[in-house]
């Protein structure tokens, strides 16, 4: 979505700021999920702590984007693609703030897990995580590049993520049914697996917002993109 070309250079700058900050919050949220998972896998508590601290920046940026967007709407009364850019950016920002919240939840559970002994089954999370991160990355790229094509790709990835999520959940549930001393850890892994799946869901939301931004079409809840 082109933020340039308006007669008002201030309007160009205001729209560009909204877009740039949305990209920035995307990078921060993505990094927080990566650090949370790395903290868990590498048994690095300091990375987990960093995620919890860095979430504050995401929260602040969310409020700034909301405020800037409000200013753009009040001051410049945008229409058509400009209006869709502002609305979509606000919604995407909200989704990214929630991604970062899930990163914090993962980090907090990871700290609990790291207090216990290392278990091999932690690797069951990897397929879900890798897939969710590809979804998040592709969704963010689709926003940066204004690519409906990339956004559509994200929508097709959701089913596979659900499969990975179910498979890991099943494996952990089975472990919980067995007699062992690591019940709490497996329960925490079920939660983490759930939050990873939520990151994928939120990536889908972001992709849907990008499609709306680019095509003015609402593909949420099973809507199809028309030519």
């Amino acid at each position: 979505m082109d933020t340039q070309g308006h007669i008002s250079t201030e309007f160009n700058e205001a729209l560009t700021a909204v877009k740039d900050n949305t990209v920035a919050i995307g990078i921060l949220a993505q990094k927080n999920v990566e650090n949370a998972f790395a903290g868990l896998m590498q048994r690095d508590v300091s990375l987990c702590n960093q995620v919890i601290a860095d979430d504050e920046e995401v929260d602040q940026l969310e409020m700034q984007i909301d405020n800037d967007s409000l200013q753009v709407m009040a001051k410049y009364r945008p229409f058509a693609s400009d209006l869709r850019l502002v609305i979509a950016s606000m919604k995407i920002t909200h989704n990214l703030e929630r991604v970062s919240d899930h990163a914090v939840s993962i980090a907090k559970r990871a700290r609990k897990i790291l207090k216990g002994e290392e278990i091999d089954e932690i690797s069951f999370l990897e397929p879900s995580y890798k897939h969710a991160m590809i979804m998040l990355n592709t969704a963010l790229s689709s926003y940066v590049e204004s690519s409906t094509e990339k956004a559509l790709t994200v929508l097709t990835m959701d089913e596979k993520l659900n499969e990975y999520h179910k498979k890991a959940t099943k494996a952990y549930t089975k472990k919980l049914e067995d007699p062992c001393d690591n019940h709490k850890t497996y329960l925490n892994l079920v939660f983490i697996n759930r939050w990873i799946e939520r990151v994928g869901d939120l990536s889908t939301n972001i992709a849907e917002d990008v499609i709306f931004m680019e095509s003015a079409q609402d593909v949420r809840h099973g809507g199809e993109l028309e030519d």
């Binding site: 308006h6 007669i7 309007f11 058509a80 003015a216």
Partner: protein
């Protein structure tokens, strides 16, 4: 609802006896009981086209319809048996600068009916009250109908001009930037009035305010260099126009 109250077919218009066309082959249908907005940069022909609809341009010696037709309720308004004065009874007009006559409020509203020969006082009283109520002005002026219209505020004067227009019960009301000289409160009142008037009249409005067009109109036509670039529902024009030129204009990228 008549979806084609006004029909323009390949309309061409020239201010210099046909040497250059200001309107270049415009075709569009304007539905009844809706507000249709004409938008576009200065000089694009939107006000000229508006004035074609009640043959106001006939008053200019060198003005000429170069091609095409304008039909209102199926009647070609340039047919030899159509009288332009008669036409303007059915197609009223409200101008950018409110222009009440230097007469009383009552006389302003009754003016059109009187020149049509209406002399019955109770008929005139009834029409004045109905029109002032219709233009949402009655409560503000009912106790001073005999005072000068020039003593009213700008917004009230513009609504008085609307009352004067609707007193003769036209089919169509043309409005040429009716709020451009008004403050935001007076503008809001006129816009509210336009929304109400649509129930009884067909309104065509020229406006430079994109917000106004998006707020009050049902359909919008974007003009550029004498041609219609895009004509669609207002929702489509302002949310997802099909033409890049329209998008550029409404989003302030034009020029």
């Amino acid at each position: 609802m008549n979806s084609k109250l006004i029909q323009l077919e390949d309309l061409g218009f020239s201010y210099d006896l046909g040497k250059t066309e200001t309107i270049k082959g415009v075709t569009l249908d304007i539905p009844a009981n809706q507000v249709t907005a004409f938008i576009g940069p200065s000089g694009c022909g939107k006000s000229t086209l508006l004035r074609c609809l009640n043959r106001m341009n006939d008053l200019i010696d060198t003005a000429k319809i170069t091609r095409g037709t304008i039909k209102i309720l199926g009647q070609d308004i340039h047919a030899s048996d159509v009288d332009s004065i008669e036409l303007r009874k059915h197609v009223g007009m409200v101008f950018q600068k409110y222009n009440p006559f230097p007469k009383s409020i009552y006389d302003n509203v009754a003016y059109g009916l009187r020149i049509q020969g209406e002399k019955n006082k109770s008929t005139l009283d009834e029409a004045v009250e109905r029109s002032l109520r219709g233009s949402a002005l009655w409560d503000e002026v009912k106790d001073r109908l005999k005072t000068s219209a020039l003593g009213l505020s700008g917004g009230q004067q513009q609504r008085l001009c609307i009352a004067r227009t609707i007193a003769v019960q036209p089919k169509v009301i043309l409005m040429d930037e009716p709020c451009s000289a008004l403050d935001p409160i007076a503008t809001a009142k006129v816009e509210e009035l336009i929304t109400e008037l649509r129930k009884e009249y067909t309104i065509v409005i020229v406006t430079h305010s994109m917000q106004q067009a998006s707020r009050i109109s049902d359909r919008t036509a974007f003009f550029y260099l004498g041609e219609v670039v895009e004509y669609n529902t207002t929702e489509t024009i302002f949310q997802n126009p099909s033409q890049q030129q329209t998008e550029d204009y409404i989003s302030g990228r034009f020029g």
